[in-house]
Amino acid sequence: MDVLNVEYMLGLVPVLLGYLPLTLQLAGVGMVLALILACLFAVVRVLGIPVLNQLTIVFISFFRGTPLLVQLFLFYYGLPQLVSALTVIDGVTATIMGLTMHFSAYMAESIRAAILGVDRSQTEAALSIGMTNSQLMRRIVLPQATRVALPTLMNYFIDMIKATSLAFTLGVTELMGATQKEAAGSFLYFEAFIVAAVMYWIVVEMLSKLQHYLEIRLNKAYSR
């Protein structure tokens, strides 16, 4: 075998770029839903709301304690079997469900820790000017917790982008699935997967830059 087939690689770039939007969509939608779910879980845990708290603990334990791939197969192959209305669930939906639940479990714990890390005096000051619990959560505690949780949450987002590649096992042709097909046709596996790897890498690097920028913005209030 020759050295790298550079021409093939260059030709592959525009082809694979066409599948990048689906990859980003899976991760973007998954992240937004996971964040919403994680905030709800975190608040339930912090306030110790009876019943919901116990359910949340079990949910988090299950989705942290089992592999993402197993969860994806459960949703994709298992759910239609249980719920007859869902004779089929498409791969994109199953992937988004899996990513949402899996990552919300992790993110809930870091959001909870960040909320608990906000100094008690901030809550007391908010109460002392007559705020309600929901006002003080929204205006004082959550904004301060966000700053603390941001680096961890961004790391989960980066993980999630990479985890979208598992969707190809459910027959979704996103970046990984497309690469797999191209490589199978050309037998140039190394060339194809190195192009895909570099694409993931560039996306993640751009996100790291965004993370850095957001951290500077959120830390503005805390510099002397």
Partner: protein, 248 residues
């Protein structure tokens, strides 16, 4: 008018406040003194329900609540009639000086933005920090932070401002500017309950000094009487010790 009747606070089996009866007139400046651990902070914190009192009634203005029957709504309205200045300032660290002061007006009183910020700017002027409107707490000196803390309390328009050792965390160089602002408020007859070890402030500004020990009011009276003619041996003992370290 503020009226506390048979106010008690227990932490488990420990009795921290043991039946406090106290009436404060509108515009009166009351300074509370006493050894540490005798319940001075707890007393102030009970008045605005940062602590749930165990028994008693609290009256602020035209609202009277029996602490055991206080609903959430009662507690909220009691908190809205009282303001608190904390020993450690406790400014909202994610908000600027201006936003700290405007927060009450915006969120609790639901004033329109423009009106709330205009009022907050007036208060910043009064506390001498107009140039710090957009500064965050982390970039301000202790003295400046505590003045904003007082400004935040002023914005509430509360019937009484409760000060819990407002100068105890400050480096000595910032104490005077905070006491100066408190004197200014006192001269405007803002009703105040002040816990402090600053005996010169008590002497010069208070209408009444209250000595608390063991969760009870031991002795009270005008500053001249308490400082020059204390009757109870515990008051004498306390004053001797405190005046040795904080001379008037």
């Amino acid at each position: 008018m503020i009226k506390l009747a048979s106010l008690s606070k227990h932490f488990g089996k420990t009795v921290v406040l043991d039946g406090i009866d106290l009436t404060i007139e509108e515009g009166e400046i009351v300074v509370i003194i006493g050894p540490s651990g005798t319940g001075k902070s707890t007393l102030l914190r009970c008045v605005n329900f940062l602590e749930q009192p165990t028994t008693g009634t609290i009256t602020v203005g035209d609202l009277t609540v029996d602490v055991n029957r206080a609903s959430r709504a009662d507690i909220l309205s009691m908190r809205r009639r009282t303001a608190f200045v904390f020993q450690n300032y406790a400014l909202f660290s994610n908000k600027t000086a201006l936003q700290n002061i405007a927060e009450r007006l915006l969120v609790v009183d639901r004033w329109p933005k423009e009106k709330a910020y205009q009022r907050a700017r007036e208060i910043l002027d009064q506390i001498g920090l107009a140039d710090k409107a957009d500064a965050y707490p982390a970039s301000m000196s202790g003295g400046q932070q505590q003045r904003v803390g007082i400004g935040r309390a002023m914005a509430t328009g509360a019937d009484v401002i409760l000060f819990d050792e407002p100068t105890s965390s400050l480096d000595p160089e910032w104490v005077e500017e905070v006491l100066g602002l408190m004197k200014q408020l006192a001269s405007e007859r803002q009703t105040m309950m002040v816990v402090t070890h600053e005996m010169s402030f008590a002497r010069d500004v208070a209408d009444r000094v209250i000595f608390i020990d063991g969760g009870r009011i031991v002795e009270q009276g005008p500053p001249s009487e308490i400082f020059h003619n204390p009757r109870d041996p515990r008051t004498k003992d306390f004053l001797k010790k405190i005046l040795a370290t904080n001379p008037v």
